[in-house]
């Protein structure tokens, strides 16, 4: 898409706010609408937009395939690991009360950790799916659209 000047300029302006919004949705999910799932998607969309306009190769330089694949697993591990930490501290699996001095403080930490796990996995999966689709040689020319 080298010849689409307008798309390139607009994308450059848009990517940073999209990522910032993704972070906002991720860490503000317990106070407003949103949470890990939506944040993971929005964060991935920011990078996918970059990849569509500036080429998959530049995107793969930021997030190589193996990093994306590890992120997919890391999120689930973070989620389940939170539960195991709870058990190690003497609570039940995914009972966050033991994480803080008072019950609700522990709940806050637990929710942040768990939502981060969801976000990381969803981000990784979305990127991996995009890579699998866009990484194959296309059968259509750019002009055919």
């Amino acid at each position: 898409m080298d010849h689409h000047l307008i798309l390139r300029v607009i994308t450059k302006i848009l990517v940073a706010p999209i990522l910032l919004y993704g972070l906002y949705v991720q860490f503000h999910g317990d106070f407003g609408p949103g949470g890990g799932f939506q944040a993971g998607v929005i964060f991935a969309v920011g990078f996918i937009l970059f990849g569509i306009v500036f080429g998959l190769r530049r995107l793969r330089r930021i997030f190589p395939d193996y990093v994306v694949h590890q992120l997919v697993a890391l999120g689930v591990l973070l989620f389940a690991g939170t539960g195991i930490v709870n058990m190690a501290l003497g609570g039940n699996f995914l009972d966050y009360n033991v994480l803080g001095e008072k019950g609700y403080q522990g709940q806050h930490w637990g929710i942040i950790a768990v939502e981060l796990g969801v976000g990381v996995t969803v981000f990784g999966v979305m990127m991996a799916i995009f890579y699998s689709f866009a990484g194959r040689p296309p059968s259509l020319d750019d002009k055919e659209w």
Partner: protein, 184 residues
């Protein structure tokens, strides 16, 4: 006012669905599918389900559109003309639709306070969230804390789905097999 908006959105939704069925250019179909998702998201907002609307807009209108466009780039741009028309599918669809509508006749009205959904655990969650968790968004409290185990399952489903896509179509090279000694 709300009734007008809701019926307007529903009519737009139906019109989009019919257009999707009629249009043969797949690029237009993908864009219309995005429009469909955005309209559905607006309906969810009207029903006060902001979190669901958020997901619908991000996944349905955002990422699905991109993935569908990627699929078109790999396959074909327009739908093939069917060789023959038959009435059987139409009859099946109409019958199924009628059965579904008949099923909704018994359901409680939208937002009815005496609906079974509103009387089970919902009121408990709403009452206890401010004391137990101190979080203003009850949806997050239910998803991440009260029902954390379910969400762990959901995340695992997303993980498994991603794994399946990676294994099936990412075209990662096979690991080079170790040569056996007898081969050379």
């Amino acid at each position: 006012m709300e009734l007008v908006l809701t019926s307007l959105l529903f009519f737009a939704l139906i019109a989009t669905a019919i257009a999707i069925a009629l249009v043969r250019r797949l690029f237009a179909v993908v864009m219309l599918a995005g429009v469909f998702s955005l309209l559905a998201a607006m309906l969810f907002v009207l029903m006060d389900a902001v979190d669901v609307a958020f997901t619908e807009a991000a996944v349905g209108a955002g990422i699905s559109t991109v993935l569908m466009l990627g699929t078109i780039a790999l396959t074909a741009r327009s739908e093939k003309q069917p060789s023959s028309y038959s009435l059987v599918p139409l009859v099946i669809v109409v019958l199924t639709g009628l059965v579904l509508i008949y099923g909704t006749l018994d359901m409680p009205n939208f937002g009815a306070p005496d609906a079974p959904v509103q009387q089970h655990v919902g009121p408990d969650y709403i009452r206890k969230t401010p004391q137990d968790i101190h979080v203003p968004n009850v949806v997050t409290a239910v998803l991440a804390s009260y029902r954390g185990y379910d969400t762990l399952g959901e995340t695992t489903v997303v993980f498994t789905a991603g794994l399946g896509v990676i294994l099936l179509i990412s075209g990662l090279g096979r690991r080079p097999r170790r040569r056996k000694r007898g081969d050379d």
